[in-house]
Amino acid sequence: MSTLRATQGALAVAAAAAIVVGLGTGLSPASAKEKVTVGFIGPLSGGTSSNGLGGRNAADLAVQLRNADPDAKYEYELLVQDDECKPNIGVQAATKYGANKDVIAATTHYCSAVAISTVDVYHKFGLPIIVWGAVLPDITYGNDYKEVHRVNGTMINQNATAAEFMTGLGYKTWAIIHDTTDYGKGHNKYFSENLAKNGGEILGTFGVTADQQDFSAELTKIKALNPEVLYFGGLTPIGVRIRAQMEKLGLDAQFEGTSGIVSDTFIEGTGDLAEGVLAFREGAPTEKLPGGQFFLEQYAKQGYSEPPEAYGAFAFTAMNLILDTIEAVGPDRKKVRDALNNVSGANAADSITGKVDFDDHGQNTIAVITKYVIQDGEWTIWEESEYAAGKRKLKGM
């Protein structure tokens, strides 16, 4: 009862404020622009804080640039909160913005576990948000919330690119090994779906535990199936074991991994066997993005003490998209929400990370995915590799 009353009270105050502001602007057109508040949430302390601080700076940069723009209709104020990469803290932060009717929209969360636990809050309060870092598919696909959007890719986009790219190279048959955690199962699911769409054939799928040492039985079975490619959905430690044991059994298939193996540890663990291994990862090195140079220059000009990190450009894109939308439809949560849901197809937006085209779950479908191949002991961007140039050949090519 008291909550209801409080809400009603808040609504009344907000309505009164709107009228006053409206009158104010109506009476004196030459006065300062109307103030609009937007929010940012990310991990500003703890183990992933370097990413969080980079994201905050990038969102701040978007606001600063907009405020410096004489054509902007509103003056923006950025509120910032720390979710510490902890779901319970994230929910508190989300509730704070949700209950604060001044906050029109927000750019939120780097950690998947936090983002997935806050989507209900945003829906309940009708606060439109754009996720700038978390990659778990369920954040957008596990619900029908119109308030939730995401500019960066998910493991779905990663696997869509992987399937399209590999079939494009001419590979036809696959065997899959994935670990049986949600991460590995997700990769298996989305890769299999996308491979079917692209006409690839899966000869066998093997779920393995994440601490398994010996894969000789699985690999011998796979050898009998004779696939052209072995797809591995999981993390570096067992990826290293599988790559090494393939060699022992004379299994001569192309090895293809996910973002879970894109680390120097994989190369150190596999030694010479790393050469020619492929993997796919969300996002691109910032300088390679369509507007990467512009973003980095502006970021440098503002003199932030922390680097933007890998996902800073996504935070910038998310905040910029929110500001564009508010400019277009005015500072109203519902209108902003609907306008964001309309950013698709012909209405797809341009951004420094490329086109933003939301599907009906609010997920950007043109997310940038980078293709990597290991060349001479280094993760090399496919387009820049000697494999793409035709100087070296992948297995079976």
Binding site: T180, F206, G207, V208, T209, D211, Q213, D214, S216, A217, E218, T220, K221, K223, A224, T236, P237, V240, R241, A244, Q245, E247, K248, L249, G250, T265, E268, G269, T270, G271, L273
Partner: protein
């Protein structure tokens, strides 16, 4: 299924069984002389593998490149170091608790195992990551259809068998072996016959641990990779293999090791469910065997322990 594949699975199963048997034999040796379960055994194996790798890195750093010299040096240094570690464990953790409840020894070795693998994780350079283990054996292979026979795998198998045969001869044909058997059979009588009980216990732990170090190096050479957590599951499997075979009986341990590897391989090859359940299947069968023969497949003959 074609003959080549059957051969390949058989070879895989044999290699895996050899690893398990070498670990299980250690469990059985310790149980034989001291009636204790040394749960740090799997992690001792891991330490052996890391000492071997460190030896290799050290020797290549000073310019030694002959693979045979490197291999022998690795085995020698790792087995000696880990034998000493085994003796230290016996001297400072096991013997002082001789008259304490067996649970205390079990707990203390369990904690030691944790300390060992956490130690490697924290203090070995980049110890949390998988480490590439060098291939020092000839990598020639012969393909017979779907069967790839690698010379190095055969050599590892032979080396493992040689270690087991060596242990058998040591226990049954030497004076030291006689003393170990005497202690295993009856501690007090052995003491009155003039056998140095403490020394025999230390030597037994040294032998069992050296065997684990040897298995660790075989493991590294076979899989080309070692990591700080490799001993955990190996310890549990080695222990189960020892129990299934009949704890206290070396031949039982060997049979148990190969049986466990066979069950794991069969579950992946022949059963329709995901290979993620292979441990569930293997341990399930072990539980059934335990219900059927509580003292193990080879029943423990008190007079012939070890």
């Amino acid at each position: 299924m074609d003959v080549g594949l059957v051969g390949q699975h058989l070879m895989n199963g044999l290699m895996l069984g050899m690893m398990y048997a070498l670990v299980a034999v250690g469990f059985t040796l310790f149980f034989g002389v001291m009636d204790i379960i040394n749960f740090a055994h799997g992690d001792v194996l891991m330490v052996g593998a890391f000492v071997g790798l460190a030896t290799y890195l050290g020797l290549t750093f000073v310019g030694i490149e002959n693979p045979w010299v490197l291999l022998l040096a690795m085995i020698a240094f790792a087995t000696c170091t880990v034998a000493a570690l085994g003796a230290l464990i016996a001297r400072f953790l096991v013997l002082p608790l001789k008259n304490a409840p067996p649970l205390n020894t079990l707990l203390i070795t369990l904690m030691l195992g944790t300390a060992l693998h956490e130690g490697v994780r924290l203090f070995y350079p980049r110890g949390a990551n998988p480490q590439h283990f060098p291939s020092l054996l000839p990598s020639t292979d012969y393909a017979f259809g779907n069967f790839t026979l690698r010379v190095d795998s055969v050599m590892l198998l032979v080396a493992g068998m040689a270690a087991i045969v060596g242990l058998h001869l040591l226990i049954n044909r030497t004076k030291l072996g006689l003393a170990i058997r005497a202690v295993a059979q009856d501690e007090d009588t052995a003491k009155t016959m003039g056998i140095n009980f403490t020394l025999i216990v230390l030597v037994t732990f040294a032998i069992g641990s050296a065997l684990a170090a040897f298995a660790g190096i075989l493991h590294g050479l076979y899989y080309s990779e070692i990591n700080f957590a490799m001993g955990l599951l190996l310890g549990v499997i080695g222990f189960s293999a020892a129990i299934v075979g009949g704890l206290g009986n070396i031949y039982g341990a060997i049979i148990g090791g190969f049986l466990f590897a066979g069950l794991q391989t069969i579950s992946v090859v022949a059963l329709p469910f995901a290979s993620a359940y292979k441990d569930v299947f293997a341990f399930g069968v072990v539980i059934l065997i335990m219900a059927w023969r509580p003292t193990g497949l080879i029943r423990e003959k008190v007079s012939e322990r070890v």
